[in-house]
Symmetry: C2
Subunit: 208 residues, 2 copies
Amino acid sequence: MTHPFQELIDHLPANARSELSLAKGEFLFRQQQPAAAIFAIISGRIRLFRDLPDGSSVTLHVARSGETFAEAALFAENYHCHAQAELETKVMRLNSRPLLEAIALHKDLGLHLSQILAAQVRDMRAMLCLRDIRSADERLLAWLRMKARGEQMNVAIDRPWAGISEELGLTKEAVYRSLTRLQREGLIERADRQGRERSEVIRLMRRP
Amino acid sequence: MTHPFQELIDHLPANARSELSLAKGEFLFRQQQPAAAIFAIISGRIRLFRDLPDGSSVTLHVARSGETFAEAALFAENYHCHAQAELETKVMRLNSRPLLEAIALHKDLGLHLSQILAAQVRDMRAMLCLRDIRSADERLLAWLRMKARGEQMNVAIDRPWAGISEELGLTKEAVYRSLTRLQREGLIERADRQGRERSEVIRLMRRP
DNA sequence: CGATAATTTGATCAATATCAAATATCGTGG
DNA sequence: CCACGATATTTGATATTGATCAAATTATCG
């Protein structure tokens, strides 16, 4: 798995990064603790949440395999939330200090970091936009359109629909049913279903 | 209105920025057109959407007053979507060239840009997280908790609930009803309702 | 004071969540 | 290669909730 940060990582001294393993329930860092690194998930899942003065807490993010998190910690004195492993989890740790030094030295890196973050902003805005679509069919269709590549408007589905459903903010049942409806209405075609590559391709049909 | 980009803007030569007025329906830029600037909305609303090979289109974002957009255009050859004013709209335009030059010169600016973007990423992740909460009451409560400041857990509401409802992905009716339910259950208190400052304060009650 | 926008309450409906269960597929070890 | 368990996909029945449409009330601003 190659992270968006890969190029940054490659320009860092070896001692700037390390790999950590966390048991389920273990904390990667705690709210208030001095911020010293940002992270990328290799495998597993980390929940970020904040304790509030009234004793309650709010979840701010659940980071999954391949994702980075705590980027804002680069610019903060302390972490503003807890990071707890929800599963046995492996993360890559990038120390702020050498990262900032590398950026100061090599100004392309700073821009590159901005580029990575700008892409994330763009993608997340699109996901938020999707969430504004109330109808399951329309939301799924919009998601497929965003993912579609090429003149053919094909979308390769490379992971279980259950995960995609979560991303869409729908239950898996709702998504499966939408898929059948969209297919029945001729808006999509499903192919390669049986392939041993455990992958499926959705083709969007020309029909604005 | 002070943008997050303000500090960046202050470090730019005057000719790097300009203010544009768009009529309702007018395009700020078009998909495929060479990318030459990023923008911040002064007033009005801009919809970003992409045309797809099959003739359909998807909305990627609706940027509102105070927001910036097209940041990724800094790093792209061409715009990857259209930007169209949904209302009469004023935007601040920041030309990519001088912006990139200023960053190359003054490396703090690059970091500062990263910082702005990292904050946006953090905030948007939190908003996405909110959307995963299905119950209107819970979602609103979580939003209030995120916004709450200080030991007192007060939230200043400085704009109509209709706008907040949209941000939450709920209708205004749903939000008003949630507010009364939460109040009835003693989870929140509403104060300063009548104030001529047209603002209201929600106080979260200690009750984890 | 009148006009406009914001807040509130009500009734109804449609859609998705939920719970349950059947079928299909995949991966693995024998 | 096959059997078996785990995971993924699919379909069904039902309930809940928020969307929608409507309308009343209240606040805000000239």
